[in-house]
């Protein structure tokens, strides 16, 4: 006879499943050049030298490093962060032994690397590439290649690794680097400014609608290394771009640090749509290992009527500290933040957004969906600030939490500051649980427990998923299902 089914976290089947579920957890066996662990001025000089950087960039790095040394790690988030030994981390690892051997084109890329990206479902070869999506593939500290570069160039779009951009378009990089997230912004941003390695650079000229989706796939492979990605997207007046990033890492018992900075700039009438599917290794079911994902992402709606939209699906990382934000400087500019953050097992997430209204008639929308499973902790932290001159600013924030199981937590920290009487700020928040009654109802109709949870979670996330480019919405949904596995015993 069937015994009572119950939502539980501790049975053996669940544990076994949790172990298998991260299918991106493999290691690529490849020779690499990795600088020894440790961080001082020489480390920074070495990184800069490896990248053959101009003096002004080295100076920028050293200045940031000096600032970082005077700063302390922030502790205001609802996170329990074990102490990080910054001297035990290696800050640069490249799968090419030295610069002279670096591939000039994708044909020269080490087959092992190509194979890795095949396995991850992002084939880089001409034949198998995803149609309509250009990919920049970053492996540890370097970009191994960028697809569709020539096609994009025809449209005037620059899409390259950050390192290449430093050489090919120094004037643009110099103008915008640090213009949205200054190196003094916060502890992790300062660290990134000092030691950043690779990321993507995007420039969309005036009036151009980028002819395809742009995306970057970040892969951590080397052991004991940190990844310090730097991405910069500039959209000139009247242009449009949709950009997507994905990321994965091997399963390891040691935590690894990923501290990224992403800066977006949108001029008059420009629109940037930035989507993230974050699937860093979350650690095992006992909370061992996983990526520390400490990220500063900010968009500057500099021009009139410009728009920046962040969409994120966060399922990975042991700890997530991330607040993609918009500075709404141009009049009539708008910012959006759509987020699904799912935490399982011992994962912790403190994520949300900041909407800073500076211009008149600026508008922002925040839709956050937090799902907590297992023993995880999931916090939404959001700030809406309206400056004195920002007449008729409007914000709508909706923040929903869904709990699955009995040992997890959901928290909401909304902050609002308004210095203008005409501002209209709305905030809605809900917390709900998947009840046994709901599951039983689904079971009685023939739907398995796992499918029932996925159905309910899907419904919960609908508003966010519809913001993702179609093919990625499918991927995100699948990812969520995998991350939910073992939610119920």
């Amino acid at each position: 006879m069937k015994q009572k089914l119950e939502i539980k976290e501790d049975n053996a089947v669940v544990k076994a499943r949790a172990k298998q579920k991260y299918k991106e957890g493999f290691v690529t066996d490849i020779e690499s050049f990795t600088i020894p662990p440790g961080l001082d001025e020489n480390t920074i000089r070495l990184i800069s030298e490896k990248k053959d950087e101009p003096q002004w960039l080295l100076d920028y790095r050293l200045d940031a490093f000096a600032k970082w040394q005077k700063m302390t790690q922030p502790d205001w988030a609802k996170l329990n962060i074990p102490e990080i030994d910054f001297q035990a981390i290696s800050y640069y690892s490249s799968p090419n032994a030295n610069k002279e051997n670096a591939p000039k084109s994708l044909d020269e890329v080490d087959p092992k690397l190509l194979e890795t990206y095949d396995k991850l479902g992002v084939p880089l070869h001409e034949r198998e590439r995803l149609a309509g999506v250009a990919v920049d593939a970053v492996f540890d500290s370097v970009s191994v290649g960028t697809t569709f570069k020539a096609e994009l160039e025809k449209a005037g779009v620059i899409f390259s690794s950050f390192s290449e951009a430093v050489h090919d378009h120094p004037e643009l990089v110099k103008k915008y680097l640090g213009s949205v997230v200054p190196s003094s912004d916060n502890y992790f941003a300062a660290l990134n400014a000092a030691v950043f390695s690779d990321g993507s650079f995007v420039y969309i000229p005036e009036g151009v609608r980028c002819p395809m989706e742009l995306s970057t796939y970040f892969r951590i492979n080397a052991i004991n290394t940190g990844q310090f990605e730097r991405t910069l997207i500039v959209a000139e007046a009247g242009s449009y771009v949709s950009y997507l990033e994905g990321c994965t890492a091997p399963m390891r018992d040691e935590n690894q640090l990923h501290a990224a900075v992403v800066e977006l700039v949108a001029m008059d009438d420009a629109k940037i749509k930035y989507s993230t599917v974050q699937n860093w290794y979350p650690g095992d079911e006992d909370g061992k290992g996983g990526i520390y994902n400490f990220v500063t992402k900010r968009g500057n709606c500099l021009g009139k009527n410009s728009k920046i939209s962040w969409t994120q699906v966060e399922t990975g990382s042991a700890i997530t500290w991330k607040y993609p934000s918009c500075v709404l400087r141009g009049d009539h500019s708008s910012g959006e933040f759509y987020s699904v953050a799912l935490t399982n097992n011992h994962q912790q997430a403190d994520t949300g957004t900041k909407m800073i209204h500076l211009g008149k008639n600026t508008k922002s929308t925040v839709i956050s969906k937090g799902i907590s499973v297992g023993k995880s902790q999931n916090a939404y932290r959001g700030m809406v600030r309206v400056a004195k001159k920002a007449d008729h600013a409007r914000n709508f924030t909706q923040c929903d939490s869904l709990l699955i199981g009995k040992s997890c937590g959901a928290h909401t920290f909304p902050y609002t500051e308004s210095a203008n009487m005409t501002a209209k700020l709305e905030h809605e928040a809900t917390t709900s649980k998947i009840s046994e009654d709901q599951l039983n109802y689904c079971l009685q109709r023939g739907i398995t427990e796992e499918d029932a949870i996925s159905l309910i979670v899907d419904g919960f996330c609908k508003e966010v998923f519809k913001e993702l480019p179609m093919e990625f919405a499918v991927e995100a949904k699948a990812l969520l299902d995998i991350s939910l596995e073992g939610a119920i015993g």
């Binding site: 069937k2 109802y441 689904c442 109709r445 499918d451 159905l455 419904g459 919960f460």
Partner: protein, 246 residues
């Protein structure tokens, strides 16, 4: 079709079913009446495999299978449908999508091809009409914001689409206005066939004016204490349950 033999079962910590026997043959409609708290819903929940009912002893055979050995979702796919006394709300999940997921899950279990959304739409169109369901209810989240009567009608609509072999209706007539009652009865009558059976739990003989039962049983204190024809329902309506104890 269904043979319940000497079932004892607990709901929560309480002994509720105490030696219940019932035989339902293909095509039959059995009405079950009885005082509040007698165990009628517990019987329905037991058959559906709801985890809050724990069988202690006895057996249930359904279409040649040991029903109690099956998971609730397997029972559903084998053809057991329970229209709940209190249908549950599922926010965010579209009613139509929910029902198609359910149908396809059952079809998969039975080794049948899934139906796509276009096929499904065609399938349900005519059932919607028959149930006189408002279209917008189908687009809304499952039972969320439905009136009591709309929830009950939705249960019968689901039954119509899933086409079970054994349908248990737990007070589906409660809270229905007279028009809705006819619609629900219609929904049941349309499904009546030689190989489909019904257990209809009700407090009112009025429903049985519209759905002709083959048998009427009285369930009291965890067992069937009296069985009879439709006439029994009329007697109960007039005299209540008290006389059964005398």
């Amino acid at each position: 079709m269904l043979t319940i033999k000497d079932i004892y079962a607990k709901a929560g910590d309480k002994d509720i079913l105490k030696g219940l026997n019932l035989e339902v043959k293909p095509g039959e409609v059995h009405a079950i009446m009885g005082p509040n708290g007698a165990g009628k819903s517990t019987l329905g929940n037991l058959l559906a495999g709801m985890p809050y009912v724990e069988p202690q002893s006895g057996s249930v055979e359904f279409l040649g299978k040991d029903l109690l050995a099956l998971d609730p979702e397997e029972r559903a796919a084998e053809g057991v449908f329970l229209a709940f006394q209190y249908p549950v709300e599922i926010p965010g999940v579209n009613n139509m999508y929910f029902l198609r997921t359910a149908l396809n899950a059952q079809r998969k279990y039975r080794g049948e091809e899934p139906v796509d959304s276009a096929q499904f739409l065609r399938m349900v169109k005519q059932k919607i009409k028959a149930m006189n369901m408002r279209d917008d209810l189908l687009k809304r989240p499952v039972n969320v914001g439905f009136s009591g009567g709309e929830k009950k009608r939705n249960e019968v609509f689901q039954m119509g689409v899933l086409e079970p072999r054994l349908a248990i209706l737990d007070e589906t007539d409660s809270g229905l206005d007279i028009d809705a009652l006819k619609i629900v009865a219609d929904g049941v009558n349309q499904l009546r066939s030689a190989d489909r059976s019904f257990i209809i739990i009700t407090h009112y003989q009025r429903l049985l004016d519209y759905i002709e039962p083959d048998f009427v049983h009285v369930l009291a204190d965890g067992k069937i204490v009296k069985s009879g024809s439709k006439k029994l329902a009329l007697e109960l309506e007039e005299q209540g349950y008290g006389w059964l104890n005398q």
